[in-house]
């Protein structure tokens, strides 16, 4: 193929991203080296915002973990957000994988209908979906009134909502459709003759699953993992709505810094640190599972 075709095909998307992503992010990085003084922004170059995030100080204890920082809030919220996001991601993948498997191997007809069936609830507003979980788990909600009607409990359970478990359930519900699709795509690509050959050679269903299906589904599964993990670290809407007073996350801090706290440069620094930490974790994760080898194998 012609040598110029590639760059020409890529150019429109690349230019759009350069204008609408690189330029704003550049401005953000610049902003993080400035400081806020009252209503004005001091444009002297300084690392003060970054220093403030890591400046050592007397330890602040949070859930039994010491954070030896003078301003421990970003560090604590980052750890908290990562923990929430990792747990939610694990839950999403565990729930979505069997569904993707079902879709790829059991559904013979109307696959498109199934896919659309799975996506339909996601055409409704995200906020309303979160809100419906409040209706389900709420004090007078579906679970409580159902249990009361059955005579299981006399008083509504008040531990269903406004805690990390509620955040987890809501996040899982919000993201499973996104996770099913990439896993399904990579399962669908598996050459059925491989499975037949293995069956002919006497492999049991479990052995086939373990030795062929699972490894070959990894590109999609890993993609799904990242698709869920990365945005949930910065998500603050769901924890705010169903997490109660424990729902403050690193995203809430960024939002607060840009709005209420009126310290956009500090907000810029916190968000850049957050992005770097996420990127570092993703790289470590991909290296640990041997991503390159896996893709090479799946593509072969």
């Amino acid at each position: 193929m012609r040598r110029t075709a590639g760059p020409a095909l890529l150019a429109p998307a690349f230019l759009v991203m350069a204008a609408a992503l690189a330029a704003p992010l550049g401005a953000l990085v610049l902003l993080s080296f400035w400081t806020q003084t009252g209503f004005e922004i001091d444009r002297t170059f300084t690392l003060a915002n970054y220093w403030r995030i890591v400046e050592p100080g007397p330890p602040t204890w949070w859930n039994g973990i010491p954070f030896p920082f003078a301003y421990p809030v970003p560090a604590i919220l980052l750890v908290k957000s990562l923990a929430m996001s990792l747990t939610a991601t694990a839950a999403v993948i565990l729930v979505a994988w069997p569904m993707a498997y079902f879709l790829a191997f059991r559904v013979r007809r109307g696959k498109a209908a199934w896919i659309i069936l799975l996506t339909v609830p996601f055409w409704t507003s995200y906020l309303l979906r979160v809100f419906s979980w409040k209706i389900v788990l709420g004090y007078n909600g579906a679970v409580n009134s159902g249990l009361i009607a059955l005579g299981v409990i006399g008083e509504p359970l008040d531990f269903l909502l406004y805690n990390p478990v509620a955040v987890m359930i809501t996040l899982t519900h919000s993201w499973i459709a996104f996770a099913v699709l990439p896993i399904y795509v990579s399962l669908e690509k598996i050459d059925r003759s491989l499975l037949e050959a293995a069956a002919d050679l006497g492999d049991s269903r479990w052995a086939r699953l373990r030795r062929i299906t699972l490894p070959l589904s990894m590109p999609g599964t890993v993609a799904a993992t990242l698709l869920v993990f990365i945005p949930t670290v910065g998500d603050y809407v769901t924890p705010t709505l169903v997490g109660g007073t424990q729902g403050t996350m690193i995203g809430s801090l960024v939002q607060q810094l840009f709005t209420r706290q009126d310290n956009a440069p500090m907000g810029a620094a916190v968000s850049i640190v957050m992005m770097l930490v996420i990127a570092a974790l993703v790289l470590v994760f991909l290296r640990a599972i041997g991503w390159r080898r896996m893709r090479a194998r799946a593509g072969a």
């Binding site: 009252g38 007078n140 810094l257 709005t259 706290q261 310290n263």
Partner: protein, 372 residues
């Protein structure tokens, strides 16, 4: 548009290098230049509280111009302030007595020529000269709506001892852990300090080590006790309706709405004091619309018909004295508010400390919540 014009001028070589650098490099230049050139063109843009962004509150404006202005909604003043400071061009904003100074000191507010407001003579005289309305002798906010902030509670579900002698201490009381809800606001720290014996005048201006101390003692405790810190009224209203929480920080409309649903609810006069506030309309200097439109909008808000709607629909008071004459007398009586002067004398009017202190409160409150 701005950008096209810029490129156009550059292409025609009508712009010196110096001019170009100034336009392209300096942040905020566009925001300063544009209003001057483009004023008196676009539609009226109003930054309005979510829920107030409807034709119902400005019948006179809609009648005259055949449409509502373009609304941009906000949920809290600091959010709106950040939006305007980031360059959002709005003509009118709806701040409150305690928050208007933030807009004034950020250099965003303009003086209001009260002679251009037909309803101005009917505004309660005390409100015309109240702090917030007047800044350095100039009117920067036309007062419109007013009401209270106190504890709404379920008399059937709280301890009778609380109903007999209500106290803000309920938000820090282990006996009510997970059964009350405070607003998501740094006010919680100040209220805590007041429960601890401090006056509001000291508490709202707390700063430095004293503020940190109050945040550690009261802020953390309060955040622990509340089932959730509410940010939207529907949430707290439903939680009270179901009995999930038995008391909450609330404005008048919550009590009004719950009563309309037939739910037993009372509005406390806490022993530490009842809070009061009034809000109004402020002209912003970022606006691009014809000034006459902005005045029509403000005047519509000050009309007695708007006041009637607020009194009957939400249980709020209104700045126009005539509102109380045309509103349903039962609604006026039920509201328990008639004269803003009497209310403000018997209650604690919210205030805002200097900008530096307010920013400190914002930061400390964020930190308190983060450490939960």
């Amino acid at each position: 548009m701005q950008r096209i014009r810029f490129i156009d001028r550059m292409a025609q070589g009508r712009m010196s290098r110096r001019e170009m650098l100034a336009s392209a490099g300096a942040f905020g230049v566009g925001a300063i230049l544009v209003p001057v050139r483009a004023r008196a063109s676009g539609p009226l843009v109003c930054l309005e509280w979510a829920g107030y962004d409807v034709a119902d509150y400005i019948p006179a404006f809609v009648e005259k111009h055949g449409r509502t202005p373009d609304f941009a909604v906000f949920g809290g003043e600091e959010e709106a302030l950040a939006k305007v400071r980031a360059g959002f061009a709005a003509d009118v904003m709806h701040p409150c007595n305690y928050s208007v100074s933030r807009f004034v000191s950020a250099g965003l507010a303009r003086e209001i020529d009260t002679a251009r407001l037909s309803h101005w003579p009917d505004i309660f005289p005390a409100l015309k000269t109240a702090e917030g309305v007047l800044t350095d002798g100039r009117v920067v906010m036309a007062p419109a709506d007013w009401g209270n902030s106190s504890i709404a509670y379920r008399p059937d579900l709280v301890d009778p001892a609380f109903a007999a002698d209500p106290t803000w201490g309920i938000f820090f009381d282990d006996a009510y852990r997970g059964r009350v809800s405070m607003l998501d606001n740094e006010l919680l720290i100040q209220i805590g300090a007041m429960v601890g014996g401090m006056s509001y005048d000291e508490a709202y201006a707390l700063s430095g080590a004293a503020l940190e101390q109050a945040a550690r003692t009261w802020g953390r405790k309060g955040v622990e006790i509340s089932r959730f810190l509410w940010t939207d009224a529907s949430e707290v209203q439903q939680a009270m309706a179901s009995g999930e929480i038995v008391a909450a920080y609330a404005w008048n409309d919550l009590v009004k709405n719950l009563q309309a649903e037939g739910i037993p609810v009372a509005y406390a006069v806490p022993r530490e004091g009842l809070f009061t506030w009034f809000c109004g309309l402020t002209l912003l200097n970022s606006g691009r619309a014809d000034e006459a439109l902005a005045y029509d909008f403000i005047d519509a808000w000050l009309s007695p018909e708007t006041g009637k709607l607020l009194i009957e629909g939400s249980g709020y008071g209104h700045a126009n004295m005539k509102s109380f004459e045309i509103a349903d007398p039962d609604a006026v009586a039920a509201m328990g508010l008639r004269d803003p002067v009497a209310v403000m004398e018997s209650a604690i009017l919210f205030r805002t400390p200097p900008d530096a202190v307010q920013n400190e409160h914002n930061r400390v409150w964020s930190d308190v919540k983060a450490l939960r």
